[in-house]
């Protein structure tokens, strides 16, 4: 691929793949800042490259309870974003339900050269919801701990799919240096990962010693990605499969994605399956769409068995409708129906 860095416009820039495994020459030329920085004196002596390939899966922990709203939104005193350091190189964040009822989860994966952020939450303004500040402080904390300079670390902004509860907060990063977004069209997104055969293709993103596997995962929407972190061995299935109502817009595409995930499970070990929301209680009760208080929420992470069992259930589904697998609701092509609620006061 011939490339002249001087003639890069935004579109070409965005469409450049960052896959150092696939195209090392390209990826290297993409990070001139990092190379320049390596010439500078290194801050701390004992901070060589982190080895993300040994002792996997890296252990980590989720919080006992995620923040889950409050009876009165304006009396919510939880942080706007709950930050969970799963381990010292992985962060899971959740938006407070009193800031957005969708309460999406966002991920940060740190590598030796880059940081991957998956999803940017549902609130646009930094003054309303300080996502940028929280992410910046996480990065600063990590850099301080591991002897890196913040300006050397490239931040990649990716999302699972183009729904506004997953990317609206991206505006807060528009002026952040050394930051790139995967773009907001299907072509840009696929191009960003260097995919030529979406959704069949599985590609590798190298964060600097830490590989993230990116794969097409359509079904909830057409343009959707699943991510697998080889360090923690966590599989992120986005809104295609999560603890709640999986709104399946295209059954065939969704089922094919599920089959791809089953094949993936045969090849790779998976510690947890994680999604973007939680909409269900520990007892399997459905929290209706839009509610801002989920006091008895189920954990966000799911065992692999839940995914496998969903596949067994999915194999029997032939018609549109809502199916409960025991862990998640599969809302097969239900279109505008966002609930399984009935009218509460009906009488004869």
């Amino acid at each position: 691929m011939p490339m002249d860095l001087k003639s890069l416009d935004r579109r070409t820039f965005l469409s450049l793949p960052v896959l150092s495994v696939v195209l090392p020459a390209v990826a290297a030329s993409m990070t001139p800042k990092a190379e320049a920085a390596s010439a500078l004196p290194t801050p701390a002596a004992d901070n060589g490259p982190i080895d993300f390939k040994r002792n996997v899966p890296a252990p980590g922990s989720f919080p006992e309870r995620w923040i889950c709203g409050s009876p009165s939104c304006m009396d919510n005193h939880d942080p706007p974003i709950q930050v969970n350091w799963y381990n010292e190189h992985t962060v899971f964040m959740r938006q407070n339900k009193a800031y957005s009822f969708e309460a999406p989860f966002m991920h940060l994966y740190f590598g030796n050269e880059r940081i991957l952020m998956i999803d940017q939450g549902y609130t646009q303004l930094r003054t309303d919801w300080p996502l940028r500040d929280v992410v910046d402080s996480c990065i600063a904390e990590w850099c301080a701990k591991h002897g890196r300079k913040v300006e050397d670390m490239e931040l990649l902004l990716a999302f699972t799919h183009l729904h506004d509860d997953h990317y609206v907060g991206i505006n807060q990063f528009y002026d952040r240096p050394n930051t790139r977004s995967m773009g907001q069209t299907h072509e840009e997104m696929v191009g960003f990962w260097g995919m030529t055969n979406y959704p069949e293709e599985r590609v590798v993103l190298d964060l600097g010693g830490r590989n993230i596997l990116v794969m097409g995962n359509p079904g909830h929407v057409f343009s959707e990605f699943a991510y697998y972190d080889t360090y923690t061995q966590i599989l992120h299935t986005g809104d295609m499969f999560y603890r709640g109502r999986c709104y399946i817009s295209f059954w065939d595409k969704w089922f094919a994605s599920l089959q791809r995930l089953m094949k993936f499970l045969e090849e790779y070990p998976v510690t947890h399956v994680v999604g973007c929301h939680v909409e269900i209680s520990r007892t399997g009760q459905d929290y209706p769409y839009g509610i801002t208080y989920q006091p008895d929420e189920a954990p966000m992470h799911m065992p692999v068995e839940d995914l496998k069992h969903a596949y067994e259930v999915a194999k029997t589904i032939t018609k549109p409708g809502i199916y409960f697998t025991g862990a998640v609701f599969l809302c097969n092509e239900t279109r505008d129906i966002t609930t399984i609620d009935k009218i509460a006061y009906a009488y004869d």
Binding site: T292, T339, K342, A344, Y345, A346
Partner: protein
């Protein structure tokens, strides 16, 4: 100390007229009011029903004249608080109080305290106060209904030179958790009659016996009578209240600018028929419901749980909405479905979120930006 009548001459005539027809009274005779003549041509209509006609420095209890020609003056000119993009950062009052007139108050719960954002009405008469509905939040810290009502009553008592006024707390439905949650705040209040929630006790409280559906309750606040009309349909124990002073019909969940969830369609039609008859024998200025859920767009409503509704429909519906709702409810009997109208939506035996982002093809199409309808 004997009460001072604001206009002694006309009070008897007005009382007679009020007995015959609640909202029609002859114009009062000219009189020296001490604080200006309410019949002077520069006054707006209905000025004699305002405290601007009180004597300066009255020495005793003021008896207000509730006899009016037609509906008592009053207006809702403020925009309702409607939540904010980030509910956690909302800085609006927890309860918005709007004085419709000096004896009628409309209270709204902040949508960021509870998304139902119910309306609560406080009506005052010479010998009593009436609170219709109590909101969706029990905790006084989040939703200080009792404190707010106490403050309004204290201020009103000062103006009217009263030491106190007894309060009666009633509900449009005993089972509706969007309207009955604040009732506990009044449990230990002095001089207060609180309606029981249980069905038969509640009907008994309103003087409605075994034949309650055909009955008519009466609450006398002192020269201001509020009538209690049984209107099941959205709740099996639904009641509506008619205020003969403002000529408002307080309907709760039965009819309001929002997604009306019919719980029993035959009862719903029967109740609307009763209100239609009522409308023919009594002037109805506005139908005042318990919520606003419609957008200011024909046939579109904000979804459930929404804490930010920047473009809301107004609270009040014209009386003709009763006819419109009745016509379409009759057509919907026995058929599960959604009926979209310009100012309200009827849901019969479907999920509360049925067609939540839609409108009817026969209504003008106004595109709603996705983020306005959702966030």
């Amino acid at each position: 100390m004997a009460p001072i009548h604001a206009d002694d001459v006309t009070s008897y005539q007005n009382a007679q007229a009020a007995a015959a027809s609640p909202c029609q009274a002859p114009a009062p005779a000219p009189k020296d009011y001490g604080n200006g003549n309410p019949d002077a041509p520069y006054n707006p209509p209905g000025a004699r029903n305002t405290d601007s006609c009180l004597k300066l420095n009255p020495t005793g209890e003021v008896v207000h004249n509730y006899a009016t020609n037609g509906p008592a003056p009053g207006d809702l000119v403020f925009r309702w608080i409607h939540g904010s993009v980030c509910a956690a950062k909302n800085t609006d009052p927890r309860i918005q109080v709007v004085a419709y007139n000096e004896d009628t108050y409309v209270l709204r719960e902040n949508p960021c305290v509870n998304w139902e954002a119910p309306f609560t009405y406080l009506l005052l008469g010479n010998r009593g106060a009436l609170l219709i509905d109590t909101g969706a939040t029990p905790e006084a810290d989040f939703y200080p209904l009792r404190v707010t009502v106490d403050q309004i009553l204290a201020r009103w008592c000062r103006v009217r030179r009263k030491s106190s006024v007894p309060l009666r707390v009633v509900l449009t439905s005993g089972e509706d958790v969007a309207q009955n949650q604040g009732i506990g705040q009044f449990a230990d209040r002095a001089q207060t009659h609180v309606t029981p929630l249980e069905f038969s006790a509640r009907m008994e409280f309103h003087g409605l016996g075994s034949n309650w559906r055909q009955g008519l309750g009466r609450i006398d606040l002192g020269d201001r009578v509020v009538e209690v009309i049984p209107t099941p349909g959205t709740h099996k124990d639904g009641l509506s209240f008619y205020d003969s002073y403002t000529c408002h019909l307080f309907t709760g969940d039965l009819l309001y600018p929002g997604r009306v969830q019919i719980a029993n369609d035959r009862d719903y039609v029967a109740s609307l028929e009763r209100l239609q008859q009522w409308k023919q024998s009594h002037p109805v200025k506005w139908v005042m419901g318990g919520h606003v859920e419609m957008m200011f767009i024909p046939g579109r409503a904000y979804p459930r749980f929404s804490t930010n509704r920047p473009f809301e429909h107004v609270l009040q519906l014209e009386a003709v909405a009763i006819d419109e709702a009745l016509e379409h409810a009759r057509g919907a009997v026995g058929t599960p479905g959604v009926v979209f109208r310009t100012d309200f939506i009827l849901l019969n035996r479907v999920s509360p979120d049925e067609k939540v982002y839609q409108s009817a093809p026969n209504l003008p199409f106004v595109p709603v930006p996705y983020w306005i309808s959702l966030q």
